[in-house]
Amino acid sequence: MSEEGTHNAPPAPEANPEEINASCRGPVLFLFFSAALWAVQATGVGLLGSLKMHVPGFLADFSHLTYGRLQANSWVAFLYGFAGNAGLGLTLWMLSRLRGMPLARPGFVLAGAFLWNAGATAAMVGITMGDQPGVAGYELPAYASRLLLIGQAFIAFSAIITYFSRRHQQLYPSSWFLIAGLVAFPWIVGTAHWLLVETPVRGAAQIPVAHWAVTSLQQIWLGCMGLAAILYFIPKITGRQLYSRQWAAFGFWMLLILGGWVNLNSGSPLPVWSIKLSQYASGLFIFVLIAIGWNLRQTAKGVPLLGSNDLTLQCMGFALGAWLITALFTFGNVYSDWNSLLQFTYAGTAVRQFFAWGFFAMAMFGAVYYVAPRLFIGEVDWACSGTYKWIFRLTAIGAVVILLAGLGMSYLHGHALQAGSAEVLKKALMPMRIAFLGEILFFMSSLIFLGSMACLLFRNCCGEYSPMALIRKCRAAKAEGGAE
């Protein structure tokens, strides 16, 4: 098929992987390291907020640290800080590798990355000062979304130049997802920025806009970046072919079409038709689930993903499972009884956290584990690859705890809400209290992630004077001393 599109110009020669890795080094590592910092920030702030569910009086005298503000801060730090940085970094690297061309215009990426992080920081400061648009899931003040949009445009510019730098090659499905992620972000955030913050539409009209923006950010933006990683790394590491391009295309287009429609709660104060339409879209989401699930199952047939001794493959396996489970919950919203039971409980947040950490963060952790060391030339390695395994373990346990506890307890909460039970408050708090455990695990894995990134950077940037090398020297010296 690719031959049909042949132009007069001869195809550019494919660059070798080392060259591509070298071209990505600065910008991508900057993005990855920022992501690690933000992950700690997101989980740390989230923990502070959740503590209030145990001790209501905790930090109650500080207007900047209300539960609402901490909660908003935590999600913004995750979404734009961690997910944005890691996802964009991975997008650049994967697009370069898939195109076989070095990253074009790395200067733009660095500039964009600075702007992007400035935007995320501005959002954090703004929310702390009380400047948020009042939408749970889209908490960006106007100035922050402007910075993020400009920063993303710079990065996307580089990505797109790289993408078009060599045309005569069949596109691997991951690159569709990556391109979609690059296009979807300005579309979604631009719409929300314009209609909710910059020139807000009438109050009644904000509800559907906000729902669309929040759902699309999660399902389409995060979904595309995460699935791109999974679709890339599972075949890459197992050394197999992706089972079917056609299945992938089907899943891809259905995800883009349905991603913004799904998950509207049946109790939303909106006309019946939009709720029914959303239910229909949630029902059709089973197509996406089948397409992605079947394709990867056929690809990885006979390979125990979770039991593999390759950490990246383990992470991707868990991320895939988590994505499938959240897709199943999306499909579950086709049953309005189920949805109306859980709509005001912690269940929605539990599934969102599971999606964020079990699927997206897990895919990113796996990808960074693979990519980051390769960005250095020569014999390099994670300084402490044994500890990196704990990122996987802690995140996985945390995600499962949040999902199970969140859902089980939310089920009871939902029943209490429907039966008018006097114990409704107690039941509302139970899932959040148990999910607190999961959040502690996320915090720990983020700390390890940050530590590992720092070790990697120090070791490779400072050579024999890096802290790790010094520690090793000390140890060696001690061992010698002990032997004497």
Binding site: P17, R97, L98, G100, Q170, Y172, P173, S174, Y232, P235, K236, I237, G239, R240, Q241, L242, Y243, S244, R245, Q246, W247, A248, F250, S266, G267, P269, L270, P271, V272, W273, I275, K276, L277, Y280, G283, L284, I286, F287, I290, Q298, S308, N309, D310, P373, R374, E379, V380, D381, W382, S385, G386
Partner: protein, 204 residues
């Protein structure tokens, strides 16, 4: 994939490629069918995409059947307008003993609505007898600037409240009263005699 746990294997496979396996036709048929059933359901449940149908209602007709009737709307509107009257006639329609006649069970109110409409339009002064009590006050032409619909609404409210239990008043009846006033050539505030002369039969 033989790597030691502490030493990353930097050897890697080439970039992945996608296979050409086709989606089975049977699955496509099933998916299409499912999609069609969904479309059918949406078509059935979309409530004509009406903006005013919210759960638990399912159709514009259902909403319309539970919405207040025309008569209730007129009554409600009249209640709002009565705010202009209750300063004198009181919220309970009882009037002020010796000064303002009551509206409750008053034959002036319960009789021909055209009489009441004429009084609201032009006001009334001089001696009258209501429910066996004489009054000698003055009512301004409160409704001079009101539309027929507004006068009909407030009269409907008065005639259906506090146990009065009369028929509602239509805008046409008010318009008739206007015509009768015009025909009679009368201008300014009424008194009992001029009302009788203009054809509005006042009760004794």
């Amino acid at each position: 994939m033989e790597e030691k746990h502490s030493n990353l294997n930097l050897q890697e496979h080439g970039e992945p490629a996608a296979g050409n396996s086709q989606m089975p036709v049977s699955i496509m048929v099933v998916l299409t069918l499912l999609g069609y059933i969904g479309c059918y359901k949406v078509d059935e449940l979309n409530a004509n995409f009406a903006a005013n149908v919210h759960a638990p209602f399912g159709s514009p007709a259902e909403v319309a059947s539970l919405a207040p009737s025309e008569a209730e709307l007129i009554f409600g509107k009249g209640k709002q307008i009565y705010a202009n009257c209750q300063g004198c006639h009181q919220p309970n329609g009882g009037g002020t003993p010796g000064q303002i006649p009551p509206l409750v069970n008053s034959s002036w109110v319960k009789g021909d609505p055209k009489l009441a409409a004429a009084i609201v339009l032009n006001g009334l002064q001089g001696a009258i007898v209501v429910n066996g009590t004489s009054y000698n006050g003055a009512m301004t032409a409160v409704g001079a600037a009101w539309s027929d619909e507004e006068i009909a609404a407030v009269l409907t409210y008065i005639r259906q409240s506090w146990g009065n239990g009369e028929e509602l008043v239509t805008a046409e009846q008010v318009a008739e009263a206007r015509t009768m006033i015009k025909d009679s050539g009368h201008q300014g505030t009424w008194n009992k005699d001029s009302l009788d002369a203009a054809g509005f039969a006042t009760p004794e």
